[in-house]
Symmetry: C2
Subunit: 201 residues, 2 copies
Protein backbone atom coordinates (compact mmCIF):
# COMPACT_ATOMS: atom_id res chain seq x y z
CA UNK A 1 0.00 0.00 0.00
CA UNK A 2 2.96 2.29 0.49
CA UNK A 3 5.30 1.21 -2.31
CA UNK A 4 5.54 4.79 -3.51
CA UNK A 5 7.21 5.18 -6.88
CA UNK A 6 8.90 8.30 -5.50
CA UNK A 7 12.30 6.98 -4.51
CA UNK A 8 14.06 9.10 -1.95
CA UNK A 9 17.52 10.40 -2.59
CA UNK A 10 20.40 10.08 -0.20
CA UNK A 11 21.38 7.34 2.19
CA UNK A 12 18.33 5.41 3.32
CA UNK A 13 17.30 5.89 6.91
CA UNK A 14 17.87 3.01 9.28
CA UNK A 15 16.90 4.97 12.41
CA UNK A 16 14.03 3.18 14.15
CA UNK A 17 11.83 5.99 15.38
CA UNK A 18 9.16 3.89 17.05
CA UNK A 19 11.65 1.66 18.81
CA UNK A 20 13.54 4.67 20.14
CA UNK A 21 10.39 6.27 21.48
CA UNK A 22 9.43 3.01 23.13
CA UNK A 23 12.81 2.68 24.83
CA UNK A 24 12.73 6.29 25.99
CA UNK A 25 9.17 5.93 27.28
CA UNK A 26 10.02 2.90 29.36
CA UNK A 27 13.12 4.56 30.77
CA UNK A 28 11.32 7.77 31.72
CA UNK A 29 8.48 5.72 33.14
CA UNK A 30 10.76 3.56 35.28
CA UNK A 31 13.33 6.07 36.44
CA UNK A 32 11.62 9.43 36.13
CA UNK A 33 12.59 12.26 33.81
CA UNK A 34 15.35 13.40 36.16
CA UNK A 35 16.86 9.95 36.36
CA UNK A 36 17.38 9.33 32.65
CA UNK A 37 20.05 10.79 30.38
CA UNK A 38 20.09 10.98 26.62
CA UNK A 39 23.23 8.85 26.60
CA UNK A 40 21.39 6.10 28.41
CA UNK A 41 18.51 6.24 25.95
CA UNK A 42 20.90 6.16 23.00
CA UNK A 43 22.83 3.21 24.37
CA UNK A 44 19.75 1.17 25.18
CA UNK A 45 18.09 1.97 21.88
CA UNK A 46 21.27 1.24 19.94
CA UNK A 47 21.16 4.68 18.38
CA UNK A 48 23.78 7.40 18.08
CA UNK A 49 23.22 10.74 19.71
CA UNK A 50 23.41 12.82 16.53
CA UNK A 51 20.80 10.55 14.93
CA UNK A 52 18.53 11.09 17.85
CA UNK A 53 19.03 14.82 17.64
CA UNK A 54 18.33 14.93 13.95
CA UNK A 55 15.11 13.02 14.52
CA UNK A 56 13.75 14.86 17.56
CA UNK A 57 15.72 18.10 17.66
CA UNK A 58 16.26 18.08 21.40
CA UNK A 59 15.51 16.28 24.62
CA UNK A 60 12.38 18.38 24.81
CA UNK A 61 11.25 17.14 21.38
CA UNK A 62 11.83 13.54 22.36
CA UNK A 63 9.88 13.91 25.59
CA UNK A 64 6.98 15.40 23.73
CA UNK A 65 6.85 12.42 21.38
CA UNK A 66 7.09 10.08 24.36
CA UNK A 67 4.12 11.77 25.94
CA UNK A 68 2.09 11.52 22.74
CA UNK A 69 2.94 7.84 22.54
CA UNK A 70 2.07 7.30 26.19
CA UNK A 71 -1.27 8.93 25.73
CA UNK A 72 -2.28 6.82 22.76
CA UNK A 73 -1.02 3.54 24.19
CA UNK A 74 -1.83 3.86 27.88
CA UNK A 75 -4.20 6.73 28.56
CA UNK A 76 -6.57 6.44 25.62
CA UNK A 77 -8.20 3.21 26.89
CA UNK A 78 -9.07 5.04 30.11
CA UNK A 79 -10.56 7.90 28.14
CA UNK A 80 -12.62 5.45 26.11
CA UNK A 81 -13.85 3.75 29.24
CA UNK A 82 -15.03 7.05 30.68
CA UNK A 83 -16.91 7.81 27.49
CA UNK A 84 -18.63 4.45 27.50
CA UNK A 85 -22.27 4.34 28.62
CA UNK A 86 -21.80 2.19 31.74
CA UNK A 87 -23.24 3.34 35.07
CA UNK A 88 -21.27 5.93 37.02
CA UNK A 89 -20.63 3.59 39.93
CA UNK A 90 -19.38 0.77 37.76
CA UNK A 91 -17.08 3.06 35.81
CA UNK A 92 -15.85 4.66 39.00
CA UNK A 93 -14.90 1.26 40.32
CA UNK A 94 -13.20 0.47 37.04
CA UNK A 95 -11.33 3.74 37.34
CA UNK A 96 -10.13 2.91 40.84
CA UNK A 97 -9.09 -0.49 39.60
CA UNK A 98 -7.17 0.95 36.65
CA UNK A 99 -5.40 3.45 38.89
CA UNK A 100 -4.30 0.97 41.52
CA UNK A 101 -3.67 -2.33 39.79
CA UNK A 102 -0.13 -3.29 38.95
CA UNK A 103 0.75 -4.68 35.55
CA UNK A 104 3.42 -7.34 35.67
CA UNK A 105 6.39 -6.43 33.53
CA UNK A 106 5.37 -2.80 33.36
CA UNK A 107 6.66 0.11 35.39
CA UNK A 108 4.66 1.19 38.41
CA UNK A 109 2.85 4.49 38.51
CA UNK A 110 1.87 6.68 35.60
CA UNK A 111 4.35 8.46 33.38
CA UNK A 112 1.94 11.30 32.68
CA UNK A 113 1.27 11.89 36.37
CA UNK A 114 4.97 11.83 37.11
CA UNK A 115 5.79 14.31 34.37
CA UNK A 116 2.89 16.52 35.38
CA UNK A 117 4.39 16.62 38.86
CA UNK A 118 7.72 17.73 37.43
CA UNK A 119 6.12 20.14 34.99
CA UNK A 120 7.99 23.18 36.25
CA UNK A 121 11.31 21.53 35.48
CA UNK A 122 10.40 20.59 31.91
CA UNK A 123 10.80 22.56 28.72
CA UNK A 124 8.23 24.19 26.50
CA UNK A 125 7.18 21.44 24.11
CA UNK A 126 6.84 18.84 26.82
CA UNK A 127 5.02 21.24 29.09
CA UNK A 128 2.56 22.19 26.38
CA UNK A 129 1.84 18.52 25.72
CA UNK A 130 1.24 17.92 29.41
CA UNK A 131 -1.24 20.76 29.48
CA UNK A 132 -3.07 19.40 26.45
CA UNK A 133 -3.47 15.99 28.04
CA UNK A 134 -4.46 17.49 31.39
CA UNK A 135 -7.12 19.62 29.72
CA UNK A 136 -8.53 16.65 27.83
CA UNK A 137 -8.50 14.54 30.96
CA UNK A 138 -10.42 17.11 32.99
CA UNK A 139 -12.88 17.61 30.15
CA UNK A 140 -13.47 13.87 29.94
CA UNK A 141 -14.06 13.63 33.67
CA UNK A 142 -16.45 16.60 33.51
CA UNK A 143 -18.53 15.15 30.72
CA UNK A 144 -18.64 11.82 32.49
CA UNK A 145 -19.89 13.51 35.65
CA UNK A 146 -22.45 15.55 33.75
CA UNK A 147 -23.89 12.42 32.22
CA UNK A 148 -24.01 10.84 35.66
CA UNK A 149 -25.89 13.85 36.99
CA UNK A 150 -28.51 13.50 34.25
CA UNK A 151 -28.97 9.89 35.31
CA UNK A 152 -29.27 10.87 38.97
CA UNK A 153 -26.09 8.97 39.77
CA UNK A 154 -24.12 11.96 40.99
CA UNK A 155 -24.96 14.64 43.59
CA UNK A 156 -26.30 17.64 41.69
CA UNK A 157 -25.03 20.16 44.21
CA UNK A 158 -21.37 19.44 43.47
CA UNK A 159 -19.85 21.46 40.67
CA UNK A 160 -18.82 19.15 37.83
CA UNK A 161 -15.54 20.84 37.06
CA UNK A 162 -14.51 20.87 40.68
CA UNK A 163 -15.44 17.22 41.02
CA UNK A 164 -13.37 16.47 37.91
CA UNK A 165 -10.41 18.25 39.44
CA UNK A 166 -10.94 16.40 42.70
CA UNK A 167 -11.02 13.01 41.00
CA UNK A 168 -7.96 13.90 38.96
CA UNK A 169 -6.16 14.86 42.16
CA UNK A 170 -7.01 11.65 43.94
CA UNK A 171 -6.15 9.42 41.00
CA UNK A 172 -2.87 11.22 40.46
CA UNK A 173 -1.97 10.85 44.08
CA UNK A 174 -2.76 7.15 44.00
CA UNK A 175 -0.52 6.70 40.96
CA UNK A 176 2.36 8.42 42.69
CA UNK A 177 1.93 6.39 45.84
CA UNK A 178 1.94 3.30 43.69
CA UNK A 179 5.17 4.39 42.03
CA UNK A 180 6.71 4.86 45.47
CA UNK A 181 5.90 1.30 46.42
CA UNK A 182 2.88 1.81 48.66
CA UNK A 183 0.75 -1.27 49.00
CA UNK A 184 -2.05 -1.72 46.52
CA UNK A 185 -4.67 -2.42 49.17
CA UNK A 186 -3.76 0.62 51.26
CA UNK A 187 -3.79 2.71 48.13
CA UNK A 188 -7.19 1.43 47.09
CA UNK A 189 -8.64 1.98 50.54
CA UNK A 190 -7.54 5.61 50.50
CA UNK A 191 -9.06 6.09 47.05
CA UNK A 192 -12.35 4.52 48.03
CA UNK A 193 -12.64 6.69 51.09
CA UNK A 194 -11.79 9.84 49.16
CA UNK A 195 -14.34 9.06 46.46
CA UNK A 196 -17.06 8.10 48.91
CA UNK A 197 -17.85 11.81 49.11
CA UNK A 198 -19.80 11.33 45.88
CA UNK A 199 -22.02 8.58 47.28
CA UNK A 200 -25.75 9.15 46.93
CA UNK A 201 -27.56 8.23 50.10
Amino acid sequence: MQQETKKKRGRPKTFDREHTITIAMNLYWCKGVDGVSLNEICNLAGVSKPSLYREFGSEDGLMKEVLIRYRSKILEPVFEMLKSPGSFRINLNRLIELNTEEHPGMPKGCLFVKMRGDKLKLETETRKQIEVIQRDLLATYSEWINRAKLNGEFPGNIDSEFAASYISSQMGFARNQQARGESVSQNRAVLEMALSVFDME
Copy 2:
Protein backbone atom coordinates in the same frame (compact mmCIF):
# COMPACT_ATOMS: atom_id res chain seq x y z
CA MET B 1 28.49 28.37 80.84
CA GLN B 2 30.74 26.84 78.23
CA GLN B 3 34.02 28.75 78.74
CA GLU B 4 35.85 25.45 79.08
CA THR B 5 39.42 25.80 80.33
CA LYS B 6 40.40 23.08 77.84
CA LYS B 7 41.74 25.07 74.91
CA LYS B 8 41.63 23.22 71.64
CA ARG B 9 44.77 22.74 69.63
CA GLY B 10 45.11 23.51 65.95
CA ARG B 11 43.63 26.20 63.84
CA PRO B 12 40.36 27.46 65.30
CA LYS B 13 37.23 26.53 63.39
CA THR B 14 35.49 29.26 61.48
CA PHE B 15 33.01 26.95 59.72
CA ASP B 16 29.48 28.10 60.50
CA ARG B 17 27.53 24.87 60.84
CA GLU B 18 24.12 26.36 61.56
CA HIS B 19 24.37 28.87 58.76
CA THR B 20 25.37 26.18 56.28
CA ILE B 21 22.46 23.96 57.27
CA THR B 22 20.10 26.90 56.93
CA ILE B 23 21.36 27.73 53.45
CA ALA B 24 21.14 24.09 52.36
CA MET B 25 17.63 23.72 53.80
CA ASN B 26 16.35 26.73 51.90
CA LEU B 27 17.94 25.56 48.67
CA TYR B 28 16.55 22.03 48.93
CA TRP B 29 13.20 23.45 49.91
CA CYS B 30 13.06 25.86 46.97
CA LYS B 31 14.56 23.76 44.21
CA GLY B 32 14.10 20.18 45.34
CA VAL B 33 16.83 17.71 46.23
CA ASP B 34 17.48 16.92 42.57
CA GLY B 35 17.85 20.57 41.66
CA VAL B 36 20.59 21.49 44.09
CA SER B 37 24.29 20.69 43.87
CA LEU B 38 26.86 20.75 46.61
CA ASN B 39 28.77 23.40 44.71
CA GLU B 40 25.76 25.67 44.81
CA ILE B 41 25.34 25.16 48.53
CA CYS B 42 29.03 25.85 49.14
CA ASN B 43 29.01 29.01 47.07
CA LEU B 44 25.88 30.41 48.67
CA ALA B 45 27.01 29.53 52.16
CA GLY B 46 30.49 30.93 51.54
CA VAL B 47 32.05 27.62 52.50
CA SER B 48 34.63 25.47 50.78
CA LYS B 49 33.71 22.01 49.66
CA PRO B 50 36.35 20.19 51.72
CA SER B 51 35.12 22.01 54.83
CA LEU B 52 31.59 20.90 54.14
CA TYR B 53 32.74 17.32 53.64
CA ARG B 54 34.73 17.31 56.86
CA GLU B 55 31.70 18.58 58.74
CA PHE B 56 28.99 16.33 57.26
CA GLY B 57 30.90 13.51 55.63
CA SER B 58 28.78 13.39 52.50
CA GLU B 59 25.77 14.83 50.76
CA ASP B 60 23.73 12.20 52.59
CA GLY B 61 25.01 13.44 55.95
CA LEU B 62 24.15 17.02 55.12
CA MET B 63 20.63 16.10 54.01
CA LYS B 64 20.02 14.25 57.22
CA GLU B 65 21.00 17.32 59.27
CA VAL B 66 18.81 19.47 57.06
CA LEU B 67 15.86 17.19 57.75
CA ILE B 68 16.48 17.30 61.50
CA ARG B 69 16.60 21.07 61.35
CA TYR B 70 13.44 21.22 59.23
CA ARG B 71 11.60 19.08 61.70
CA SER B 72 12.49 21.15 64.72
CA LYS B 73 11.91 24.50 63.06
CA ILE B 74 8.92 23.84 60.82
CA LEU B 75 7.21 20.56 61.68
CA GLU B 76 7.39 20.62 65.46
CA PRO B 77 4.81 23.44 65.82
CA VAL B 78 2.34 21.31 63.86
CA PHE B 79 3.03 18.35 66.12
CA GLU B 80 2.46 20.55 69.17
CA MET B 81 -0.80 21.82 67.78
CA LEU B 82 -2.06 18.28 67.25
CA LYS B 83 -1.20 17.42 70.83
CA SER B 84 -3.03 20.45 72.20
CA PRO B 85 -6.43 19.86 73.79
CA GLY B 86 -8.52 21.86 71.29
CA SER B 87 -11.58 20.28 69.69
CA PHE B 88 -11.02 17.97 66.74
CA ARG B 89 -12.87 20.19 64.32
CA ILE B 90 -10.98 23.28 65.28
CA ASN B 91 -7.63 21.53 65.06
CA LEU B 92 -8.60 19.97 61.74
CA ASN B 93 -9.35 23.40 60.37
CA ARG B 94 -6.06 24.66 61.72
CA LEU B 95 -4.35 21.74 60.05
CA ILE B 96 -5.95 22.55 56.70
CA GLU B 97 -4.94 26.15 57.16
CA LEU B 98 -1.33 25.22 57.98
CA ASN B 99 -1.12 22.93 54.98
CA THR B 100 -2.48 25.39 52.46
CA GLU B 101 -1.42 28.85 53.56
CA GLU B 102 1.56 30.45 51.90
CA HIS B 103 4.20 32.16 53.98
CA PRO B 104 5.62 35.24 52.30
CA GLY B 105 9.35 35.00 51.87
CA MET B 106 9.37 31.27 52.43
CA PRO B 107 9.43 28.51 49.84
CA LYS B 108 6.14 26.91 48.85
CA GLY B 109 5.33 23.36 49.74
CA CYS B 110 6.91 21.22 52.41
CA LEU B 111 10.50 20.03 52.30
CA PHE B 112 9.69 16.87 54.21
CA VAL B 113 6.86 15.95 51.87
CA LYS B 114 9.06 16.61 48.86
CA MET B 115 11.87 14.47 50.19
CA ARG B 116 9.46 11.74 51.21
CA GLY B 117 8.26 11.68 47.62
CA ASP B 118 11.83 11.25 46.40
CA LYS B 119 12.67 8.75 49.11
CA LEU B 120 13.71 6.00 46.73
CA LYS B 121 16.36 8.24 45.19
CA LEU B 122 17.93 9.24 48.50
CA GLU B 123 20.68 7.58 50.47
CA THR B 124 20.56 5.66 53.71
CA GLU B 125 20.94 8.35 56.40
CA THR B 126 18.45 10.67 54.79
CA ARG B 127 16.01 7.85 54.16
CA LYS B 128 16.18 6.67 57.74
CA GLN B 129 15.49 10.19 58.97
CA ILE B 130 12.47 10.46 56.67
CA GLU B 131 11.11 7.23 58.06
CA VAL B 132 11.56 8.44 61.62
CA ILE B 133 9.63 11.62 60.94
CA GLN B 134 6.94 9.77 59.02
CA ARG B 135 6.46 7.31 61.88
CA ASP B 136 6.20 10.11 64.42
CA LEU B 137 3.78 12.00 62.21
CA LEU B 138 1.47 9.03 61.80
CA ALA B 139 1.64 8.29 65.53
CA THR B 140 0.72 11.88 66.32
CA TYR B 141 -2.23 11.77 63.95
CA SER B 142 -3.37 8.47 65.46
CA GLU B 143 -3.28 9.72 69.03
CA TRP B 144 -5.10 12.86 68.00
CA ILE B 145 -7.84 10.81 66.36
CA ASN B 146 -8.08 8.47 69.35
CA ARG B 147 -8.65 11.43 71.66
CA ALA B 148 -11.29 12.73 69.28
CA LYS B 149 -13.03 9.37 69.36
CA LEU B 150 -13.18 9.45 73.15
CA ASN B 151 -14.83 12.86 72.91
CA GLY B 152 -17.31 11.63 70.33
CA GLU B 153 -15.85 13.98 67.72
CA PHE B 154 -14.71 11.29 65.29
CA PRO B 155 -16.60 8.34 63.77
CA GLY B 156 -15.82 5.28 65.89
CA ASN B 157 -16.14 2.86 62.98
CA ILE B 158 -13.11 4.22 61.14
CA ASP B 159 -9.80 2.67 62.09
CA SER B 160 -7.55 5.29 63.66
CA GLU B 161 -4.37 4.24 61.95
CA PHE B 162 -6.01 4.14 58.57
CA ALA B 163 -7.53 7.56 59.17
CA ALA B 164 -4.10 8.84 60.15
CA SER B 165 -2.64 7.50 56.95
CA TYR B 166 -5.52 9.01 54.97
CA ILE B 167 -5.01 12.43 56.51
CA SER B 168 -1.28 12.22 55.94
CA SER B 169 -1.92 11.37 52.30
CA GLN B 170 -4.27 14.26 51.75
CA MET B 171 -2.05 16.79 53.51
CA GLY B 172 1.00 15.62 51.63
CA PHE B 173 -0.82 15.90 48.36
CA ALA B 174 -1.96 19.42 49.20
CA ARG B 175 1.60 20.43 50.01
CA ASN B 176 2.84 19.13 46.70
CA GLN B 177 0.09 20.86 44.78
CA GLN B 178 1.01 24.04 46.59
CA ALA B 179 4.65 23.63 45.60
CA ARG B 180 3.56 23.21 41.99
CA GLY B 181 1.75 26.50 42.06
CA GLU B 182 -1.85 25.35 42.35
CA SER B 183 -4.16 28.00 43.72
CA VAL B 184 -4.61 28.10 47.46
CA SER B 185 -8.39 28.17 47.25
CA GLN B 186 -8.62 25.21 44.89
CA ASN B 187 -6.20 23.34 47.08
CA ARG B 188 -8.18 24.10 50.21
CA ALA B 189 -11.45 23.09 48.56
CA VAL B 190 -10.02 19.70 47.63
CA LEU B 191 -8.75 19.18 51.18
CA GLU B 192 -12.07 20.12 52.73
CA MET B 193 -13.95 17.73 50.49
CA ALA B 194 -11.50 14.92 51.15
CA LEU B 195 -11.71 15.42 54.90
CA SER B 196 -15.48 15.75 54.94
CA VAL B 197 -15.56 11.96 55.09
CA PHE B 198 -14.92 12.29 58.81
CA ASP B 199 -17.92 14.55 59.42
CA MET B 200 -20.32 13.39 62.12
CA GLU B 201 -23.91 13.79 61.04
